[in-house]
Symmetry: C2
Subunit: 581 residues, 2 copies
């Protein structure tokens, strides 16, 4: 028979959107706490009405469908609310990494054509510098600016006329807001420094973000009434979708300005935190001082990603009472794409083996139709032997819409019906995927991706340098840090000093990207085709790596390190490590 | 700016389908147990390959896109596999209630134009009768028939040539299967029980079923490695989507032919069952014999729905070790639509209050965009006062595509952007919805709405009563009045009197709600799902109705009525009517 074609109706075909979790939270969790920040507390009903107010205020400012609204802020309530209010006005939220430098911020504002720019009072200087860069460029529109003053302890700092709370107060909670018509519409725009030097704008659809949100709640087993501590910056993939996820679960968002160990432990104790996400580097921070001897009153579930957590670190942090789930993700996959689903039978294993299993990246989350490891040339799956490496590829509705205004990058990223991650891995016999090599140009330092090419480009601009290459160097605190190998123009004169190079770097890039070691050398190893042999440099960097954990910086102290593998015939006169703040 | 329109690609726009959980289960849970039935065990890899084989065999039999494949079977492995294999062939699975009579089965086969009909060996006689009815009707095609023999203990029973295991064996696991192009395509067809009118065929889309599956896993908090006992028939809304849900979680499906208490307790102990679903009537079954004195080794999570569980029953079954979650749903909403999300603060309450809160239907599941209670005339929301009744309405992508070939029913069910459930409820101040009645079960007496459920709740608290149901009885003065049918705990002794019951009622409810008739009977008529067949009770009540206008009561006068329709063979020993004040 030819089955009757039944029409889609408003009652049975509602565009999927994570923003819809907020009206539902208002309806069913209205009296429960939504957000805690210092002495400030909101209920889900208040959050809903504040978001409606802000959305109507945005419309009154002229914000229209598909306009980009950028924000530079830490994990404060406004940052949380904007994840709903901005798309409720039909606009696209662009959260900017607060650790970028003014040039990078300006680049993002320019590329995204941001119409409105919210700036937390803490980042007014960085934003001001970025806006000045924009203003100097001809034909580039400068966005309207609004400051987010601290809601718990107002500073009075302003940058222009507009202020977040004033906008909220001015908004009308009963105003008509434009309904979402198409779930394929963009909801957020997140820039990544990923694998090329130019930042790429990753667009998420409402559909993809909805599916990721529910899928990650399921994957991590987030039950009812979670208390979620915002240690992971919301500007990282919209907080791995848990911004929206907490509304879906009617959870409590505990917002803190900085993820300092004291703040974290205090928040856990005071608010009975049940869940948090962070990069493995936060584990080291949590174990500092008397951290390792602490014991939590109740277990805190931690979802971690960005780099495989070292086994020793896992063991120590779990002893404190953190229950770690390891995931792998990338901006282009709306955050976590693989998660190491724990199997009950592994409970019987001893620790090193457990940690080895847990350090694997795991199985695809439910929103993905498939994840695989393929030979990038043949696009055939590698055998499940835990040995044969291939490129990790993904397919499913939680993969980004694409890069904004970047057809070349889109052409490279999508191939043969798959999204290519650029990461290299293996598949174990049990189907669990393990990454063997982050795509080789990326250095993951303290959870932040540093593109070696970007650092190299700055080094290449140094007038006294002829050649440069940057690779990852293992670091007991940051996981990895950049290590630069540079060749002076005039090798004999050796006119360039490491201090010169470092000062030059500090002027040209965000602090966290500045190399922690600079090796001055006669020449870089190159292969027959002239390509720098980074494998060899990584080998050298590994030997130069600090072998003891760096101390937390005190004042202007720098940490000197052992210089393993140093040879007298190398022109490595000065090797130093600086801790980043 | 006008934001670039990025195209949907195969890598980032995959049609949502719950069937996709199976290939994922094969990839990531391949070596884990999928199905247990008697001595038969399969892994997820085996289930996947068996389903591929069956799908290819269906294609070889000529099954094509949108063809209906019907099945009449209990919860055996074949029934489980068909939830994947049939849509993998592009066809629509129609599971038929095994407790229907041959006429009803024939009606469904005819209305759905089933092309292929799978029949479990236990139901060959019923199927044969239905097929004979079909064969006698001119111009009605008779489907091809295949028997599902018992896989653990083959019977040799056949009905025609085809047999399930032979088809699986004949299939090619490597055959090409038609990819799903449109998530709006139908995946299953479930007929309503037809308590109000002719059975209606409810079509689910792949999209709706996917969203319901993930949403219900989240709502119920089903973690990794669940062991799910199939007490709920899979023919009921596809097992409330947990057929697909177990594949999503890589869980174990424990299949049993009958949900007898011994089988249930044995399966729980043997397979360490963690989850099961059932109607509240199963609770009574579980408490039979020495059931009430049992204590489970580990808690078993039970999702229940179909009727609100009486508080006393909840208390007793929870004491055994079942942890009950109460949900409300209907075929048209792909199963559960509201669930009583437990709040931690309720843990501190005492039992009667806890049970009262738990017996509420609760809040909308995540796949719904909205659930509300509205005045059916004005379509305005009722106030959140726990008192004002209205019709429960739903909106969201888990609402059915519609009724198959039934435009009238579709017109009635969809109105003003909502799906109308036909159920009557209230909204409490905390946003939790409570059903007061099916709209047809509301008794309108002298202009006042009486919810039969409210009267029943009082009757259930009577210590001498085991069962009770209240329906409308026509009344010449009041239009309708409540008529109660009650079953004493000890039927032979018949220790309970009507006066007892009425006195009890008067203490527990408003006078106008007190039944005007109380019928003491041995048992209530129940359908296959354990639902009281109120249609039959109404029929009986109609015959008991007073035929002359009752006098307006004066003082303590009671009105005696004629006892129309009473038959001597009925165990209706005492029939009386009392006037309301």
């Amino acid at each position: 028979m030819v089955m009757e074609q039944l029409p889609k109706r408003p009652a049975n075909y509602v565009p999927l959107s994570p923003v819809g979790f907020l009206p539902r939270a208002n309806a069913v969790y209205g009296d429960r706490t939504s957000v805690i920040y210092g002495r400030v507390r909101f209920t889900w009903s208040q959050t809903y009405h504040r978001c409606r107010r802000l959305a109507s205020a945005l419309l009154a400012l002229g914000v229209r469908k598909n306009d980009v609204v950028s924000v530079l802020a830490p994990n404060v309530p406004a940052m949380y609310e904007m994840h709903f209010a901005v798309p409720m006005a039909g606009a696209v939220l662009n959260t900017i990494n607060t650790r970028l430098d003014a040039n990078a911020v300006a680049t993002i504002l320019r590329h995204s054509e941001a119409k409105l720019f919210f700036v937390d009072c803490e980042h007014v200087r960085l934003a001001g510098d970025a806006l000045q860069i924009l203003a100097r460029q001809r034909g580039v529109p400068v966005p309207l600016v609004a400051v987010i003053d601290d809601i718990d302890a107002p500073t009075g700092v302003r940058l222009g006329e507009l202020e977040y709370e004033a906008l909220v107060a001015r908004g009308d909670p009963a105003a008509d807001l434009p309904p979402l018509q198409d779930e394929w519409d963009a909801v957020t725009l997140n820039y990544t420094s990923g694998t090329t030097s130019a930042p790429k704008g990753v667009l998420y659809s409402h559909r993809g973000a909805y599916l990721s949100t529910t899928s990650l709640l399921l994957q991590w087993g987030v039950g009812t009434e979670p208390v979620y501590l915002w240690t992971l910056p919301m500007f990282h993939c919209n907080g791995w979708t848990f911004t929206w996820g907490m509304a879906a679960r009617g959870g409590v968002n505990v917002c803190i300005r900085d993820a300092r160990p004291d703040d974290i432990y205090r928040a856990i104790a005071r608010h009975r935190v049940t869940h948090m996400c962070c990069a493995p580097v936060v584990f080291s921070i949590l174990l500092e001082g008397d951290g390792a001897s602490k014991r939590l009153d109740a277990p805190v579930h931690v979802l971690t990603g960005g780099a495989p957590p070292p086994a020793a670190l896992l063991e120590r942090v779990e002893r404190v009472g953190f229950k770690v789930t390891h995931a792998y993700g990338l901006t282009e996959a709306t955050g976590p794409a693989l998660a190491c689903e724990w199997r009950d039978q592994w409970d019987r294993l001893q620790h090193p083996e457990r940690a080895r299993l847990k350090a694997r990246q795991g199985v695809s989350v439910l929103s993905l139709a498939d994840a695989d490891v393929k030979n990038a040339d043949t696009m055939l799956s590698v055998p499940r032997d835990g040995k044969t490496v291939g490129e990790i590829v993904l397919r499913g509705s939680s993969v980004m819409k694409g890069y904004l205004n970047n057809p070349d990058a889109n052409d490279k990223a999508f191939r043969g019906g798959w999204f290519l991650t650029g990461d290299v891995g293996v598949v174990h016999q049990d189907g669990y995927i393990e990454i063997k090599d982050r795509s080789k140009d990326v250095i993951i330092s303290g959870g932040e991706n540093i593109c070696s090419k970007e650092v190299e480009e700055v080094l290449f601009r140094h007038p006294a340098l002829a050649d440069a290459a940057v690779v990852a160097m293992p670091h007991p605190r940051w996981g990895e840090t950049p290590c630069a190998f540079v060749v002076p123009r005039d090798a004999k004169a050796a006119t360039v000093s490491e201090d010169d190079v470092l000062a030059f770097c500090r002027k040209g890039m965000a602090r966290f990207m500045v190399p922690k070691k600079v090796v001055i050398t006669d020449a870089l190893p190159r292969n027959a085709l002239g390509k720098v042999e980074k494998v060899k440099l990584r080998e050298r960097a590994r030997k130069l790596a600090p072998t003891v954990p760096a101390q937390r910086p005190k004042g202007k102290t720098t940490t000197t390190t052992t210089v393993g593998g140093r040879r007298d015939d190398q022109p490595v006169a000065h090797i130093m490590a600086v801790s980043r703040l």
